[in-house]
Subunit: 443 residues, 2 copies
């Protein structure tokens, strides 16, 4: 009996120890915040799925559409360059999201992401097409007038042929045909990327910078995702404050732009003689990036006028510089606007008002230091959304945005299948229209 | 030492016991499937948030907008009726979702729901306005030509005054004004519910039956949620099978309808002399519901032609009867279509084809028993989506659908705040357009 009892006790202790160990690992070593994007600023965080369970299939495209584009880009600049097959490096570029997303999906450890990569397309919710469409557009330093068949590096790279080739390849794929492309994701961050084939892929989720060159039946806030450009100047590592930020307003960039960007020349005219404003004409170069870094890190406000299209990488340079953006771009669409209240981090001025002589500087000078510090604090909190290299940054947020499209994708797939032939007076569209009381419609 | 040792052991056992108990409760009594809507059919289930964390504030409307509507309805039919204040019962009605959702939100135990009710509006993501708008529309048996001020039950109930009163009340609320109503949820299931004020509340998420009486800037698949009607006949409790289902096709309902419903009379003409088809003119009554129950439970297929608007409760009667719906309603929109592939549970025939003599019956007779059983099996699996009284049914699914709108709601709120005045050539809308290759557009 005594022996039996002493036998039972250690066994009980052993069992309890195992259960306790299981409890310990299960309870305390389970991540308590499985979604590292959670923060007070991410107002959507409360309903983020903590399980990364939207399944994405990464198309194994022919190499020419991915690494091959980088190789073509580098060879077009230096035909003698030697590129190790296993160490292809994407060149520095404001449209490098295509590289970041591709690199992310092929990574082993993707903890914290809203999507998981699946290797069997049967398991996939969404299909990612990793063509480097923005780099492809600029692979040739100057787009060739005609293909030079006698070139000793073979035929000159043709972006248009690449676009056509991609869609021809895709149209052979069973998963493309199955749902008319609704569940496919394309990246075309340069406003001209994929322009030749956009009508053939427009059912897909497009990852874009803005809708400047896209019609309303090709892309929209409802179907697509607005991406930030990669910032091209260094992040500001210091604390918030106005010390060291001696200039009021800073801008450096091309003075002359097409379309909405025409406002730039007018802004130069009203601002270039203001003593606390630094406004300079400059084009992309290492030296101008150095000067822009210095300017943005030492100014309170940074001007962001429209470019050829409403968006430009300068906005994101300003954000990571904690330089409060002053946005003069009436048609701009902004990344992750469900999660970020841009009114807290930027100042919006319509073009007509902004070009009134003296108006902009007068308005900015009136903003108190306390208010400036508030803006800076908010900028600091959202900064990571614009850092592609932050493990808790842009890449994860882009995937989260993509997952939010899935319910409408599934709806459109199911609805398309059962729609009958019918006479329609208007296109069959479901829309979300902004509050017109704030706009000044001419219709 | 011996004493110490014997003291340590029980203490260790005690500690381990507590840890083990904690482990047990934490590990095994935590729901392993926190979202009871998960099923192989719910293709979206994998990314449902397992935490019911979208926060909804239920407006404490003046009583006249909720229980008061029921009282007015009952008193208009029997002025002598006595209604206990704490036991107001909503009358049987195909538009009873307004009652189900209200009753659900005021329940204590809301386990399994995608939304939690919060009592402080500051905490809310969304605001639910529980006006019984559909019952209000029919509170008077016949809408009065003029208000009878001499009536001894006070003035005659006026739905229009109620609608106006609701919006006036709402427009005084701070949370309504704060975001221009984008984060408010309204139920207006009868196609005419809230018709008088719809333009003032159209920013909100509307819970509707279809878009038959709504313009594209008032409601859409993107912004709003399509609800099923409450089925009005009893569910079929038996197993799948064709035994006992001797008729091919069944329909009972009003032969004459306006607009899209004109197809009904044409369908009667081509079907009424077919021997295995039961097609009867009938209006709502207890007796006709009994006959419809019997007919739908003993037929293989159930016809669902458009009514005055594209939807009708007959579709949901058919589904819960496991009677395969034959849908002849070219503009129909269907509830929960992201989660349900209706092509698997119903047959869609365009109106032009359906009214060709002999066509419909010939097509249905060709469908094999095996295929019929497949349809029935799928119907059985989705049936719970159409059962308002199922704890794992319609009510939870409606809330899940509402939560899916939140990212776009937040986006529109933030975007509206920072939009500048601008000249627009077209309305400022973001759209999702269906694949036009399957439609026959006339534009």
């Amino acid at each position: 009996m005594g022996r039996k009892s002493s036998c039972v006790k250690p066994t009980l202790v052993t069992i309890l120890t195992f259960v306790a160990l299981y409890a310990f690992f299960n309870t305390f070593l389970t991540p308590i915040n499985p979604n590292p994007l959670d923060s007070p600023f991410s107002i959507l965080s409360s309903y983020n799925s903590p399980n990364p369970s939207v399944k994405v299939y990464l198309y194994d495209l022919p190499r020419k559409f991915t690494y091959g584009v980088v190789e073509s880009y580098l060879k077009a600049r230096d035909p003698s360059v030697s590129i190790p097959v296993n160490d292809v490096k994407y060149p520095g570029n404001q449209h490098s999201a295509e590289w970041w997303l591709f690199s992310d999906l092929i990574k082993e450890d993707r903890y914290g992401s809203s999507v998981v990569r699946v290797l069997d397309p049967e398991d996939a919710d969404l299909f990612y097409v990793p063509f480097f469409s923005s780099l492809s557009l600029v692979a040739n330093p100057i787009r060739p007038a005609a293909v030079n068949v006698n070139s000793d590096i073979g035929s000159v790279y043709s972006d248009e042929e690449m676009q056509q080739g991609l869609v021809e390849w895709l149209e052979e794929q069973v998963y493309w045909k199955r749902n008319n492309g609704w569940d496919h994701v394309f990246i075309c961050q340069d406003p001209n990327a994929l322009y030749k084939v956009i009508d053939r892929i427009k059912n897909g989720i497009l990852l874009v910078s803005d809708f400047g060159r896209l019609t309303s039946d090709q892309a929209s806030l409802v179907k697509d995702v607005i991406l930030p450009y990669s910032h091209r100047i260094n992040s500001f590592k210091g604390e918030i404050g106005v010390e060291g930020r001696n200039s009021l307003l800073f801008f450096m960039g091309n003075r002359y732009r097409k379309e909405g960007g025409k406002v730039r020349d007018l802004l130069f005219q009203v601002l270039e003689n203001q003593e606390d404003v630094i406004i300079k004409h400059g084009t992309q170069s290492r030296e101008s990036r150095r000067m822009a870094t210095q300017g943005m890190h030492s100014s309170k406000f940074c001007l962001h006028p429209a470019g050829d299209t409403p968006s430009a990488c300068r906005l994101f340079d300003a954000i990571v510089s904690l330089c409060i953006p002053v946005i003069v771009s009436d048609q701009i669409e902004l990344p992750f606007e469900d999660a970020i209240d841009y009114k807290k981090i930027a100042i919006f001025v319509d073009s007509d008002t902004a070009v009134k002589p003296g108006h902009l500087t007068k308005m900015l000078r009136k903003i108190s230091t306390e208010k400036i510090l508030q803006y800076q604090q908010e900028l600091k909190e959202v900064k990571r959304y614009f850092e592609y290299d932050d493990p808790n940054g842009t890449v994860n947020e882009i995937w989260r945005q993509v997952t939010l499209k899935l319910p409408l994708v599934k709806l459109m797939i199911n609805r398309d299948k059962r729609l009958v032939r019918r006479e329609l007076i208007e296109p069959d569209c479901s829309c979300l229209c902004s509050n017109k009381t704030r706009a000044r419609p001419t219709f």
